[in-house]
């Protein structure tokens, strides 16, 4: 028995967006910046990789550096991390005081700390490096909105991707249920957390009747750089959006394997094996002046594929 007519609440979904700052590969071109992207989860900004020039690309996307407290670096190749010294020293010049947390392969502090000591001496904020075991699928970061896991990848050097798993939102309580059952304020959080409500008359009103469930939690996986690694499919199962590197087309498959990268087709196979909802491919080799060849090869396996491009924002 449902007491209330179902009401459709038109509610803004909590934000979960990915903005591409750069989706080129090692050789910089005028068409693509090096790897960097912003994951915005409920207005909290996470930077994933930080190629040279990232601080300027953030600026051209109107993202204020001070909004960024957490950075995830996949691996220590220059096209994924050479933007860190500039980004950090600019934050110092801008008077940042909040600590900046940087997650990355275990060498990251050893490589960058001496630079920071030299160039950012006297900065009023702390840079905290968090070494990530790139061989493990493990939670590396957590707050009330999201858990971020490392995804072991297979590249020439230690490298991991990152899986952003949104935490479930508590359901909304039906306002008319509060009135009808005279639910006291003290019970509201319990009900949101899953409790039933017992009226003064001893009637048990089940939880499901009192709340409106929220959207199911979403997830985003960033996989760059890596060769085809089908054993990751289970870790990525059902991901809402998969960003996967697609450095080369089929014609370069041999070269691709030799340099531990993926073809567009392999990226699509990963999306298919993982039952991903959508795939966005990036990390394009500079040899392609038109990446539609990559898009076509990927779509032949996984139709719901798009090409990344700079300044693109994808809403989950």
């Amino acid at each position: 028995m449902t007491v209330f007519t179902p009401i459709i609440y038109i509610r803004a979904v909590e934000k979960f967006e990915v903005t591409i700052l750069g989706c080129g590969s090692a050789l910089p071109t005028l068409r693509h910046n090096g790897s960097a992207q912003i994951v915005n989860i409920r207005e909290k900004y996470f930077l994933v990789d930080c190629a040279e020039g990232t601080q300027v690309h953030l600026r051209s996307n109107h993202i204020h550096l001070s909004r960024m407290n957490t950075i995830f670096i996949s691996h220590l190749h220059g096209d994924h991390c050479f933007g860190l010294p500039g980004l950090i020293s600019t934050q110092g010049l801008l008077g940042r005081t909040a600590p900046l947390h940087i997650y990355g392969p275990e060498d990251i502090e050893g490589v960058f700390r001496p630079l920071l000591d030299y160039f950012c001496n006297g900065m009023e904020f702390e840079v905290v490096f968090h070494p990530v075991d790139t061989h493990q699928f493990l939670p590396v970061y957590e707050d009330r909105s999201v858990t971020v896991y490392s995804i072991p990848l297979k590249h020439r050097i230690r490298c991991c991707g990152y899986l952003f798993k949104e935490k479930p939102l508590l359901p909304h309580i039906r306002r008319e249920a509060i009135e009808h059952y005279q639910i006291p304020v003290s019970q509201i959080n319990n009900i949101k957390a899953g409790a039933d409500f017992v009226t003064n008359e001893g009637v048990v009103v089940p939880h499901s009747e009192l709340v409106i469930q929220r959207e199911p939690p979403r997830s985003y996986a960033y996989c760059s750089d890596t060769m085809f690694k089908p054993e990751n499919a289970e870790l990525l199962h059902g991901v809402n959006l998969l960003y996967h590197e697609a450095t080369f087309a089929d014609a370069e498959e041999k070269l691709c394997a030799r340099v531990f990268h993926s073809t567009a087709r392999q990226a699509a196979q990963m999306a298919q094996l993982s039952h991903a909802q959508r795939l966005v491919i990036g990390h394009f080799s500079s040899r392609y002046e038109d990446e539609n060849i990559l898009l076509k090869e990927a779509q032949s396996v996984f139709p719901n594929t798009i090409l990344a491009h700079e300044k693109m924002t994808i809403t989950l």
Copy 2:
């Protein structure tokens, strides 16, 4: 007595150009890149300073990285050198084999060598660092076309500018003189180098009658970053083009001195004291959305002043 009617030779002047890749200051903006410029002397390219993003700005100016064998760094603030790791590793990826020579303050190798050892391991070319004594005016580089001198500047850390002094070109020998006096090929280089010619009859034909003098040698001085340092005027005497930092306007004079920078007016005073032919000002603070205030203040002292801007090429 002049034997020959003077002939005006319209000859292409040997190239001496400065191309601005970036003329902003420490805080990057969308209007200006960090400091970097190319000095092209007789088709030899010298890079002066190398802010983050320089490799891409070179590309957008159609300057091939392989043309660059020599880099001069003024000082070790990020906005003058954070582009080095990316520039160097890209050259490695492109298969460079020729050594790359980098001149800069004495710490430069200690700061960058560990990074290169980590990121550029296995590169097929050598990076040779040449420490420069930033307190001395000394020749630091020389080839057959140019001598480059360090210019001691006054900044918060060790810092020097660079003076590019073209070597005099040997005069052209008058073709009609060769015929008239039957000058043997063996004598031509001697005459170009300054010798007179003695005919078979023992007549001495003075050097000046046999040659057409070339354009006088030119010079270019790069002075950034520095506070006003009038004692440098003598070193820069008669320079054809002076690039001088002009971070602030008069209104910020106190701040300017505190952070060891120059106002536009002081840049102009340096040009005036040095009897420079032309002044180009740069290293603009990010606070100016329109640098014409800097231009006006400079021109009130030294009219032949222009504002630097990205992609500007100035021919000497």
